[in-house]
């Protein structure tokens, strides 16, 4: 049965199976959802329905599911809800239904609400409709716990209208948030920035959320350090002794294991940092657990995309190396001198370096795209390239690639300063303490090195995340969209 709604402005369609295939759908996007947490199910979603911007002018309604009519089949209702919320599993919907009332949306037009109501009531649901402003009072406990969201309606790129920019409560949430359309906290001031300002703001963000960012990055570094130290002590018993064959193999295996763990943790931390910086930059609250938690389901995609990127970046230099290895004997046979071979090698090395930097800069934003836009693999690489080649300002030094290069250079110099700050105390203790404390001073140096690396990494990483947002601000003007909501 076709369940299509089209009033010229709005079109809400439902995909239902009643014995035969039904086209179109009522689709609720979870772009604004706060995840799959206990108290947040469906509560912050907007109804994403194809409609023109003109429908933004119509009255918005909140729809809550308050109960079932006697004799209703819960499974039929679960199935119906699943067709509206395709990203939810049946278990999640069942769990949500066990805790009624349930706010389905707070931004439906009258027409959409009417059709959604008739659809769900045919399945035995009892629904309650209220105007969006009033919905806070009448909403189920879920929404009562939060301040009422304005959930303004904006036309998206494709003309789809959806709820956006709903300010998030200060309560940390669980799960993944989509950042394809960044939600800016109403009070936050974001605007396009120059290189200096990006670094200024990175420094300020680091200062304001120091422990959060620092610990996010310290976790993999610290774990790697502890694992290395632990395996050394475990294998050697913590005493100086000459290396046996068994011990060497053991150390090698443990080192490979440590590197693997380190890589996974490192990318996890990288994603968590991107999430945390993004949240705080847009004016939302977050925590260590939330940031790591938000990355759980994307870790595989991030790892895969980063590996793909690494392979592609090093593929060309490797191929050039192979070409050189083939060319040299051929040139020898053909009687070319050392000068020709040297020039050819130099050209190939230069080509490899240029190609490396070209690809590296094109794909500099891949990790941000994976985490914040939920794109992976080839799509993430293409998106990063698109962003890095966006011309939003006039002038050579204002090209994204050049700006990124300068930010990395300044970040590197600041990183050197940070390293010096932490290395000098270690070196001094090493120089002035007697030799019997050698183990202590070495460990101290290593610990300080881990801290310095974490700090330097964090600073440059924050700057690059802000740089990513800056490009998007300039080309997409999402700050303008957020401000326009409050006109």
């Amino acid at each position: 049965m076709l369940y299509a709604m089209n009033d010229g402005f709005s079109q809400m369609t439902a995909e239902r199976s009643e014995g035969h295939k039904v086209s179109t759908n009522i689709r609720i996007r979870n772009r604004n959802c706060y995840g799959i947490g206990r108290d947040t199910f469906l509560s912050k979603r907007g109804v994403a329905m194809s409609q023109s911007a003109a429908s933004a002018e119509t009255k918005r309604l909140a729809i809550s599911l308050t109960g079932f009519r006697p004799g209703t089949s819960p499974e039929a209702l679960v199935k119906a809800l699943q067709s509206i919320f395709p990203r939810k599993t049946a278990e999640q919907i069942r769990a949500a239904l066990a805790r009624l009332p349930l706010l389905l949306t707070r931004s439906a037009t009258e027409e959409q609400a009417r059709k959604l109501k008739s659809f769900l009531e045919s399945k035995g649901a009892i629904l309650k409709l209220a105007t969006s402003a009033a919905s806070a009072g009448q909403a189920p406990p879920v929404s009562a716990a939060r301040p009422p969201s304005a959930a303004p309606v904006v036309p998206s790129r494709s003309g789809v209208v959806e709820a956006a920019a709903a300010p998030k409560s200060d309560q940390p949430y669980t799960g993944i948030e989509r950042r394809a359309k960044p939600r800016i906290h109403p009070g936050i001031g974001i605007h396009p920035m120059g290189i200096g300002e990006i670094l200024d703001r990175s420094f300020r963000l680091l200062r304001q959320h120091f422990l959060l960012f620092f610990f996010i990055i310290l976790i993999p570094q610290g774990t790697f350090f502890a694992f290395n130290k632990g395996s050394q002590i475990f294998l050697t018993g913590g005493v100086e002794q000459s290396m046996t064959a068994g011990m060497g193999i053991g150390l090698m295996v443990s080192a490979i294991l440590a590197v693997l763990i380190m890589m996974i943790l490192q990318f996890w931390a990288q994603g968590a940092l991107i999430h945390a910086v993004s949240e705080t930059y847009l004016g939302h609250a977050t925590s260590l657990a939330t940031s790591y938690g938000a990355m759980r389901s994307r870790l595989g995609r991030l790892l895969g995309t980063m590996f793909l990127m690494g392979i592609l970046i090093f593929l060309v230099p490797a191929l050039l190396g192979i070409a050189m290895a083939i060319a040299v004997p051929i040139l020898n046979v053909m009687g070319f001198g050392d000068g020709t071979k040297f020039i050819l090698s130099l050209l190939l090395v230069l080509a490899a370096i240029v190609w490396f930097f070209h690809l590296f800069l094109n794909w500099l934003l891949v990790d941000k795209v994976v985490v914040l836009e939920d794109k992976g693999w080839g799509r993430a690489l293409r998106r990063s390239k698109e962003l890095m080649n966006t011309r939003t300002e006039q002038g050579f030094w204002k090209r994204p690639k050049n700006k990124a290069g300068l930010i990395l250079l300044l970040g590197f110099l600041i990183g050197v300063g940070i390293h010096l700050l932490f290395q000098v105390p270690g070196l001094l203790t090493h120089m002035f303490l007697p030799m019997k404390f050698i183990k202590l001073t070495m460990t101290l140096q290593q610990v300080l090195n881990v801290i310095a690396t974490s700090l330097a990494t964090v600073f440059t990483a924050i700057a690059m995340i802000l740089f990513y947002y800056d490009i998007r601000l300039r080309s997409e003007g999402f700050d303008l969209k957020a401000m326009a909501e409050h006109l």
Partner: protein, 264 residues
């Protein structure tokens, strides 16, 4: 909540308040990098001058005075000039240019006293002599650490001299390429009345869009224009014909607003 800028508030004895935007690590590092390049050029010039003087000057001197001077004296002069540039670059520029160096000027930065007054030779000397401590071992490790802890982003030299580095407002009003020449296609007599109710913040949003639209992606540009227009139409309860685009409508509004403001 993270704020866009850190500011320094100064209250004069007459109870007039000033607000300065404090420069952070990024803008200061960029200015320092630019100053390092300028200093490098100075030093290169000194090096070339010393080499040329030591080598060529005696040959073109008919009196033979310069030929009598040992070459080491030229190099000593070069070392002295290098010292003046290295130590005096910041000190002299900041004292003479009222808290600015070429790098700071390019970044719109200025060193001022914490009470808002311009710095003099004393403050410039203190903060730049102590630069040697901040920059200890190169790359400002101590300076970074102290700035990180300081609410006003001051390094040791700044604390000792009682100075802060601020971000100056741009002197030039950016000439807008989207300067509007409205053709008044709209025939809405009540529009002027509606525009007069527009708050400065709301005007700024529309203006920002018009200023930034050239750099925006076409789809997003259309989207923002549509959003702004629909919001205003809804707010004012007006309607207009289809022969005018959203951006033209917004241009018209900004034009009217600016005309009203000018009249006031």
């Amino acid at each position: 909540m993270e704020t866009a800028k850190e500011t320094l508030k100064i209250q004069t004895p007459e109870h007039v308040g000033f607000r300065y935007v404090l420069a952070g690590l990024g803008t200061r590092s960029t200015a320092f990098l630019l100053d390092t390049i300028v200093r490098g050029l100075f030093i290169l010039f000194i090096f070339l001058a010393v080499v040329l003087l030591a080598r060529w000057l005696p040959q073109f001197d008919p009196t033979g005075i310069f030929a009598a001077i040992p070459k080491t004296w030229f190099f000593a002069l070069g070392v002295l000039a290098y010292g003046v540039v290295d130590l005096g670059y910041f000190l002299i520029f900041e004292a003479l240019w009222s808290g600015q160096t070429p790098g700071k000027r390019m970044q719109n930065l200025r060193v001022i006293k914490v009470n808002g007054r311009p710095i003099g030779w004393l403050e410039s000397s203190i903060r730049n002599i102590l630069r040697a401590v901040d920059i200890l071992l190169g790359f400002y490790p101590l300076g970074l650490f102290v700035m990180f802890l300081s609410s006003r982003s001051q390094r040791i030299g700044d604390y000792a001299a009682g100075t802060v580095v601020i971000l100056e407002r741009r002197r030039k009003v950016p000439m807008d390429k989207t300067r509007l020449r409205t053709t008044s296609k709209l025939n809405l007599p009540e529009l002027e009345l509606h525009v007069s109710t527009l708050e400065p913040k709301q005007y700024q949003v529309i203006r920002s869009f018009l200023q930034r639209r050239q750099a925006m992606n076409a789809a997003h540009r259309r989207e923002v224009a549509l959003l702004l227009t629909s919001r205003l139409i809804k707010k004012w309860g007006i309607s207009f014909g289809g022969d005018i685009s959203d951006e033209s409508f917004l241009e018209e509004i900004v034009g009217i607003y600016e005309r009203i403001r000018k009249a006031i």
